[in-house]
Symmetry: C2
DNA sequence: GCCGGATACCTAACGCTGTTAGAGAACAAC
DNA sequence: GTTGTTCTCTAACAGCGTTAGGTATCCGGC
């Protein structure tokens, strides 16, 4: 006696389930995402999910894949006249926006990226765009991940700051809490820039960091690194860019 | 009848517990870190831990704080003659190294940074160093986090790739798996740089990204941004650095 | 029409988790 | 030696991911 309102066949699939799981994420966050609750939302018992997915880890992977697909759906190469930096910034922003759409989205996404043909399509697109901008593909392949890492790192912290893991008003990220904790005598500079440090405008902060990373990438453009017209040492960051970081 | 081998008094403290928890992390990872197992390691029953810590979340916070302290212990300003970029790179590298010392260390650390006086001491140090390098403190405060975000983002992915969450030989990060998945007809550039994409040398990859970020920061140095000797448009990234990323 | 296998779902249960209540030992102060 | 505080214990709760095994449903072959 299947009380199941709908016809038997192909109702559930890893994708359907992952989609429902992303919905569930926005209530209760990652902690509230349990197989039983997810099953309830799909009008099914928890054990059923294991017919479609090996385990929860696989569910999380599917969710991450879905997020990625959502982020890059319809993305093509730069429009005519569009700078590669604008294009890359838009791509990173799309990814961030998608992660932000889901509570704990960045944590779900982090470290689960590679995989499907969608991934390779986008990487191909990136490599082609950077190649057109003058980067050798090998060079581009070693450089572009920094953009992804920054984006994920930033968004993870942003969502952590939203602090829904903490009970009401106890989040250690409240600006006031910091304002009390920093002694202006010992840490005058910190005290002077508390506003900047805890500024709530995450969008602007992200864009700023993006600009930094993209400027850094631009500085790695081979042509840029050996512009003949520039007198040696004219670029102020010349030595330090070449210098290897201390290990 | 306290079978407890050691004297009664101040044995346990949040710090002791967190330290043991970090040790436990290296066996079993984040999933293996359970209150019961942690208690066992401290010769105590699980409930006891709740006398010292409100809940597991607080334990994780304490662990993150401990990692941060371990990372920046003894850190001072740049040595005489040391470039601010070298100094910053060394700092980021220290943080990464510490996170790598513990399984899932980056995931534990991510989004739990701010808090203690140690944090503010280090931020003060960063601000002072950048100030000496020519950055206004407000500007520095808005810029330096990008370094942290990159470092955390990179290391999270690195540790995810180590793939100890997956059963033997099933990690989706195995290079061979990718080599099979990418069709050289559709994705020629990707196929050509698989070696670079899945290159195992994480240290070099991190250093490369660090160089990029630092170069980007250097490009944001006000003085650098308007070096009078440079003819307008000589720096190839001129326009694009100014351009705001698409939203 | 009916059968057999595959597919999709179920119930029931396992061992484990974080967490709490409340009893009781150990210690310090008087 | 009593009292109060600090710490640890036992016992239990509800909920977790996951598995074994049964059952309904669908579909192609006769």
């Amino acid at each position: 006696m299947a009380e199941n309102g709908s016809r038997g066949g192909r109702r559930l699939s890893p994708e359907t389930i992952a989609r429902a799981a992303l919905g569930l994420l926005n209530e209760g966050g990652l902690d509230g995402l349990t197989m039983r609750e997810l099953a309830k939302r799909l009008d099914v018992r928890a054990a059923t999910l294991y017919w479609h997915l090996r385990n929860k880890r696989e569910l999380l992977d599917a969710m991450a894949a879905l997020m990625f697909e959502e982020a890059v759906a319809g993305v093509e190469g730069p429009r005519r006249g569009e700078d590669w930096q604008e294009w890359a910034a838009a791509l990173a922003t799309r990814l961030r926006r998608t992660m932000l759409r889901y509570r704990d989205g960045a944590r779900v996404f982090a470290g689960t990226s590679v995989g499907g043909p969608t991934t390779f399509r986008v990487i191909e697109l990136i490599l082609r765009t950077l190649q057109d901008a003058g980067y050798a593909p090998e060079r581009a392949a070693r450089l572009f991940p920094v953009l992804l890492h920054y984006t994920v790192g930033f968004t993870i912290e942003e969502q952590a700051r939203q602090g829904l893991d903490y009970p009401e008003g106890e989040s250690p990220y409240e600006p006031d809490r910091a304002r009390d904790a920093v002694d202006p005598g010992r840490f005058p500079l910190v005290a002077g820039v508390l506003g900047e440090l805890f500024d709530g405008d995450a969008d602007a902060g992200f864009a700023r960091g993006l600009r930094v990373v993209l400027a850094g990438l631009a500085a790695e453009l081979p042509e840029a690194a050996e512009l003949p017209e520039l007198p040696e040492g004219a670029r102020p960051d010349d030595a330090s860019v070449r210098g290897r970081p201390a290990t």
